[in-house]
């Protein structure tokens, strides 16, 4: 039986330092039937040239984009609109897939035909790629209800294309919580399964998010959960609250003696 095509969207925005490792990890997959949808979202740091060089090297990569910055949700939606595969996944352009990520997830979904989406475990790495430890989000057992309060369906996710299209795909207006919003909507229409194997390396970057971006992400995540509460008809009987703890932190500068 011919293995189906897996479409991996790689939204790219100014990640030239990490992009080669991400794309190399796709090239290193032991499952060969994939396409890499490299959506350059208006990068100005040479990321577009790196993507083009990989596409010139291997025809499974396709460079997409409109030369402007539309933001991650719109980039993801546009990239998936071009997908030709029967399965969809996302590789963030600063992260890394384990070599068996696609083959393992595909085998898991083939063994569980009732699932519309599956997700794996992940590990965290630092800016230099060194292992920091296992990711903890996936430790919480999945249920559609628990997903309202905890985003455990983290990377790496593989989604059946028909399940993705049945819910209308990524909401380009979901701001900084497009992946959480997508998972919530999928959880309302199909079964989701967990493969407890670490198949994804998620990079923790010190420059990842500014204070404003982090607050915007928290707002967007809470708004996605509130929308889900409404869709599920639970708003009259349940209340959703947002807990916040902001800590001011003073970190000694490297190489400078702290005050006595």
């Amino acid at each position: 039986m011919h293995s189906p095509l897996i479409s991996i969207a790689v939204p790219i925005y100014n990640t030239a330092r990490y992009l080669p490792a991400a794309l190399d990890s796709l090239l290193a997959q032991d499952y060969p039937h994939w396409e890499g949808l490299l959506w350059d979202d208006g990068s100005s740091d040479g990321s577009g040239r790196i993507a083009a060089a990989y596409a010139a090297r291997d025809a499974r990569f396709r460079v997409l984009g409109e030369g402007c910055n539309r933001g991650n949700p719109a980039a993801l939606a546009a990239a998936f609109a071009q997908a030709r595969g029967g399965f969809l996944g996302v590789l963030d352009s600063d992260d890394i897939l384990e070599p068996a990520a696609l083959s393992s997830m595909h085998a898991f979904l083939r063994a569980h035909p009732q699932l519309g989406m599956a997700y794996s475990q992940y590990v965290e790495i630092n800016e230099n790629g060194a292992l920091l430890g296992p990711g903890t989000r996936c430790n919480t057992p999945y249920s559609a209800r628990q997903l309202l309060v905890h985003f455990m369906t983290y990377q790496f996710r593989l989604i059946r294309t028909e399940a993705y299209r049945a819910i209308g795909g990524v909401d380009a207006d979901a701001d900084d919580a497009a992946d959480y919003d997508l998972c919530l909507r999928l959880s309302e229409t199909c079964s989701i399964g967990h493969l407890p194997q670490p198949l994804y390396r998620y990079r923790i970057r010190h420059d990842s998010l500014s204070c404003s971006q982090r607050l915007r992400q928290i707002r967007a995540t809470f708004a996605a959960s509130e929308r889900a509460l409404q869709r599920r008809g639970m708003a009259a009987s349940h209340a959703l609250s947002l807990g916040i703890r902001a800590r001011h932190v003073l970190k000694p500068k490297p190489g400078v003696e702290p005050q006595a």
């Binding site: 204070c211 959703l240 703890r245 001011h248 000694p252």
Partner: protein, 258 residues
């Protein structure tokens, strides 16, 4: 007119809880005070004017662009020796002004005294102790947590020496003022809950939580710079968030804010 204490009262848009706030001020055992009400808009101003009618100790000032500017205006011409802020949503314990006044008398070197507080809901039901006011105060600890408030009694001299209310961080004007006071004068604490802070779906803490976090952080960074600590330390902000789902509860909202 020069009462011993000028109480500045920010009045929010709907002024829904202002009668309770003013009632708690009029019930103070310490009687030598005057109040300046700072309305957020014209509706709040009309409501405030109606409520203060008949009490010559209370005055309503014109509407200004921000709460910080309004509080600055209210304090800039006052001739009282002591200043205090009572939020128009909140309630003073009957002994609040007397207790803090007595504490400042005992500590002539202190520029500010503050108490503990409790949280209440829209109906006045107790929600628990204020989350930060039990932390030990020090000028350094204040960089990390705003434990000095919301009830504070300030000497006017210390207030003016510190530069008074500023509009640099409009959603953290009190924290910014406390940081500057902590750099120029002693601050003393009374371990009694003398103030009820009201948390409800339309409270500023709930509606503007993101802006408050950002402005508090910016005030913190400015204080670190003033104190020369930025030579040795980098400032960062760590934010944890979580969702809570509860059955049979009519309101959600924001939790975990001071």
């Amino acid at each position: 007119m020069s009462a011993a204490i000028t109480v500045v009262i920010p009045v929010h848009a709907d002024a829904a809880f202002l009668p309770q706030a003013l009632g708690s001020l009029q019930a103070q055992t310490f009687a030598d005070w005057q109040a300046i009400l700072c309305p957020a808009d014209a509706t709040a101003q009309q409501r405030a004017l109606a409520l203060v009618r008949g009490d010559p100790r209370m005055h309503v000032q014109p509407v200004l662009a921000s709460a910080a500017l309004a509080q600055h205006a209210a304090t800039s011409h006052c001739t009282s020796d002591l200043l205090c802020v009572l939020d128009g949503n909140d309630v003073l314990d009957a002994n609040a002004l007397a207790a803090l006044h007595a504490l400042l008398l005992q500590h002539p070197d202190a520029g500010m005294a503050y108490s503990r507080h409790v949280l209440i809901d829209a109906q006045g039901r107790a929600l628990g102790a204020g989350p930060l006011c039990e932390l030990p105060y020090s000028p350094e600890a204040l960089l990390l947590d705003c434990m000095t408030g919301p009830l504070r009694l300030l000497r006017s001299t210390a207030y003016r020496a510190a530069g008074g209310y500023r509009d640099d961080f409009p959603d953290a004007a009190d924290y910014d003022l406390c940081l500057r006071l902590s750099e120029s004068c002693a601050i003393v604490h009374l371990a009694q809950a003398l103030y009820q802070r009201r948390i409800h779906p339309h409270a500023p803490e709930v509606l503007r939580w993101g802006e408050q976090i950002e402005d508090r952080y910016r005030a913190f960074v400015a204080a670190v710079h003033r104190r020369g600590l930025d030579v040795r330390y980098d400032c960062t902000l760590q934010i944890d968030s979580w969702h809570v789902l509860q059955a049979n509860r009519p309101f959600g909202g924001i939790r975990g804010l001071p």
